[in-house]
């Protein structure tokens, strides 16, 4: 069990990175990571070997999806927390652009893209995490890239629609 905990501990920085890019908000991201860790420890008995890291990414991805789904309506009031300190990574123009571009993607596409390019997972791993065939992962990646390119090229596509 020692290694199980060590493996989890070792994954925390990467989980934070993934969550930060997924949510583009430091506090929300760390809350997601905390929730992920709590669940991982609670479900320790359900873990029958395999890659701990992938398993943690799966939990975090699912939690994030639940979180987004539970937000049924989008009221127009100011969100609480908008006066939180800006990301320490610094809002240089390029960073803001990619951030906005990511924000335009639907959740599945953003997840697939981040797992591949930021977390360095293989298509197969991402397919397992998302619970879809590899072909679906590839089409998500392709659509994500087309949209980001369009955004960065100066088009302002219609904001994502609710399916």
């Amino acid at each position: 069990m020692g290694t199980f905990h060590q493996d989890i501990e070792a994954a925390i920085p990467a989980l934070r990175r993934y969550a930060r890019a997924l949510t583009r908000d430091g506090e929300t991201a760390d809350d997601l990571v905390q929730d992920t860790l709590v669940r991982a420890l609670r479900s320790e008995h359900l873990f029958h070997g395999g890659d701990v890291r992938s398993w943690l990414y799966t939990i975090l991805t699912n939690l994030n999806r639940n979180r987004l789904r539970s937000l049924a309506r989008r009221p127009t009031l100011t969100p609480i927390g908008d006066d939180d300190a800006p990301d320490s990574a610094g809002p240089e123009a390029g960073g803001r652009d990619i951030e906005r571009a990511l924000a335009l993607l639907v959740e599945e596409q953003r997840t697939a893209l981040l797992l591949v390019v930021l977390e360095g997972l293989t298509y197969r791993e991402v397919a397992e995490i998302q619970g879809v065939p590899i072909g679906t992962v590839m089409s998500r990646l392709a659509r994500a890239r087309v949209q980001i390119k369009a955004y960065l090229d100066g088009e302002r596509p219609a904001l994502r629609r609710i399916k």
Partner: protein, 272 residues
């Protein structure tokens, strides 16, 4: 045998960019790109995207991990899973709003029910806090205040204890509400500052905290379990947020459970 000259598909370009293409095909893709500038430009753009993403978020792994995310800290609390689950639920609830804001995009033009709620609450606040002699209908000391408002509003109401904010319950009143009767509780601080809590039934799904400013007033509202809540007071967001969290914490723990006290501690630690 792989045909080195077969046309390169778009899928292959992605696989190539992501470093998953078998070596024997990689060379073919590179040759293809040399003679297909449009594809080469796309590949370059995708690579630049990946670079930008890594440049933006890659450094997060070098940040010190906050205490609350260390495994030790989380394991220490393992005995009180219920407490943690409660805290996590609240955390998720509170942060949900931020995500909602980020995920917005198809924001509805019509004001939501909860938004109308907030307006009602602010109007009531504005009207009644100015009343010197009759700010409330029934005083806190009167035993029937809560049973009465609970019956009219349709749920068991408890007036949150806000003494940590130097706020004492003055009493409450019944209001027409939007769809159903609403209760308005008024609190007063030692210095005379007044805060109101507005609650009524709503069809709005559960939402996170939202803040609205109206002149000198600030209102924080949310909905949960079929009821909408609005806390209104002087426009001081951190303070109203802290009050709302304290309220939420007390209301959420309405159902007594063995882990109640530890959950309370957990949440207040987090909120501090």
């Amino acid at each position: 045998m792989v045909d080195r000259n077969s046309p390169v598909t778009e899928d292959e370009l992605h696989v190539y960019v992501d470093g998953e293409l078998p070596a024997d095909r990689r060379e073919a893709v590179e040759l293809w790109l040399a003679s297909h500038p449009e594809d080469a430009a796309r590949v370059a753009a995708w690579r630049a995207q990946a670079e930008a993403i890594r440049a933006r978020y890659g450094s997060v792994v070098n940040e010190p991990v906050p205490d609350r995310l260390t495994l030790d800290r989380i394991m220490r609390n393992r005995r009180s899973w219920g407490a943690i689950a409660a805290a996590v639920a609240i955390v998720a609830f509170v942060v949900g709003g931020i995500a909602g804001w980020m995920a917005r995009g198809a924001a509805a033009a019509a004001p939501s029910e909860l938004e109308m709620f907030a307006n009602e609450a602010i109007s009531a606040h504005r009207l009644y806090i100015g009343e010197v002699r009759h700010p409330i209908e029934v005083r806190a000391e009167e035993q029937h205040l809560l049973p009465w408002l609970s019956r009219r509003v349709g749920t068991t109401l408890r007036a949150p204890d806000l003494s940590t904010f130097d706020l004492k319950l003055l009493g409450g009143r019944l209001l027409p509400g939007i769809n159903a009767p609403a209760a308005l509780f008024m609190y007063e601080s030692g210095s005379g500052e007044r805060i109101t809590i507005y609650v009524s039934r709503t069809t709005e799904p559960r939402t996170s905290f939202r803040y609205k400013i109206s002149d000198a007033f600030g209102a924080l509202r949310w909905s949960e379990g079929g009821y909408g809540w609005v806390v209104t007071g002087p426009n001081d967001k951190p303070r109203l947020k802290a009050i709302a969290e304290r309220m939420y914490e007390q209301l959420d723990l309405r159902t007594p459970s063995p882990s109640r006290s530890s959950a309370g501690q957990l949440i207040s630690r987090r909120g501090s």
